[in-house]
């Protein structure tokens, strides 16, 4: 009797044990996901730097709004050595799609708070991120970055109505 024949004769619990092993081998929880989870508690405790709003297409380019091309709102926030460029586009269901770019480009864990809710996303190595289904209203972004010296850094934007 070989192993395959053995497996088809396994009882339910043994078969589940085999599956557990295979899931562990083929699709384990990725290490970055585990690391981000362990760090999630720090969002409570680290003091955040504020990233200030330095440009807002709705204020800076009101003519575009008049022409009806301002569905896409462009925002820029600045903190020390970090610029956050953000585009907010209505998704047609009272939610917004946020597309962002960090300058200089760098990965980051991002928490987008809207109202009392929060959505997590991440910026890739090129500093790009996207979040769908962000409720319209008061929104704030928190970013957790690892700077070059390996120190953790938390940056928060001011709350903004979008």
């Amino acid at each position: 009797m070989d192993e395959m024949q053995l497996m088809t004769s396994f009882d339910d619990d043994l078969l589940l044990d085999e599956l557990r092993r295979v899931f562990g081998a083929i699709d384990p929880v990725p290490e970055p996901v585990r690391a981000a989870a362990r760090a999630a508690i720090e969002w409570r405790t680290i003091d955040a730097e504020l990233a200030a709003l330095v440009s807002d297409s709705m204020i800076d380019e009101p003519l575009l709004a008049v022409r009806g091309t301002a569905e896409l709102r462009m925002l820029t926030f600045e903190a020390s050595e970090l610029t956050i460029e953000l585009e907010a586009e209505p998704a047609g269901d009272d939610t917004l799609t946020l597309v962002g770019q960090l300058v200089p480009p760098q990965p980051a864990q991002i928490a987008i708070r809207h109202g009392s809710d929060v959505i997590a996303t991440q910026a890739d190595e090129r500093g790009r991120f996207v979040a769908c289904g962000v409720g319209a209203g008061q929104v704030s972004l928190s970013l957790r970055l690892d700077d070059r010296s390996g120190a953790r850094r938390l940056v928060e934007t001011a709350w903004l109505s979008i």
Partner: protein, 182 residues
């Protein structure tokens, strides 16, 4: 949980270790790819960080996490379906990751089991994935995580495992070269 709420890192890490498999399993059971699954899991942890002061009953935590993760999966799927028009029938039945990953498996036996698993209906793949978690969630938690009636989990479990066995048998027949039965 109270220690974690107070910012105790070790207590928080214990919580993460205990439930990360559950959350990852839920996200993957909803056929989310790795980046989306990662976002769903992290969103769930952030919501826990924000709500942990208000969760009084530690025994309710797994259910709360399962419900939060499922809602978040559904939200992400809703938005994905808007971006990429698709209907349920056209979705591939194989849950992520694809069968190609079977080559990563060291043992042929694991690869066979994985291929057999990938032929099961999506519902079975999701349920078996939940049932195979360590620590095993309760039927209530699985019901919450997958939107299934608790009473249907036991019978579905039996059917799905039976389906897995017959898929294994079928693979065995189709992959065995003719004549090798002697």
């Amino acid at each position: 949980m109270q220690l974690a709420a107070a910012g105790d890192r070790a207590a928080w890490n214990t919580l993460v270790e205990r439930y990360e498999g559950l959350l990852w399993g839920i996200a993957r059971s909803h056929r989310l790819d790795q980046p989306s699954a990662s976002d769903v899991v992290q969103t769930t942890w952030l919501r826990l960080v924000e709500h942990i002061d208000r969760l009084r009953n530690p025994e309710a935590l797994a259910g709360w996490l399962a419900a939060t993760a499922r809602n978040e999966c559904l939200r992400v799927l809703r938005h994905q379906s808007r971006l990429i028009p698709t209907d349920d029938d056209s979705m591939p039945v194989d849950s992520v990751p694809p069968v190609d990953d079977a080559r990563l498996l060291e043992r042929e036996r694991d690869a066979e089991l994985w291929r057999a698993f990938a032929t099961l209906p999506a519902r079975c793949q999701s349920l078996l994935r939940m049932l195979a978690l360590d620590p095993a969630p309760s039927y209530e938690e699985i019901g919450t995580a997958l939107g299934m009636a608790v009473g249907s989990i036991g019978p579905t479990r039996g059917r799905c495992l039976e389906g897995l066995r017959s898929a294994l048998t079928k693979l065995r027949i189709t992959t065995t070269p003719p004549g090798s039965y002697g």
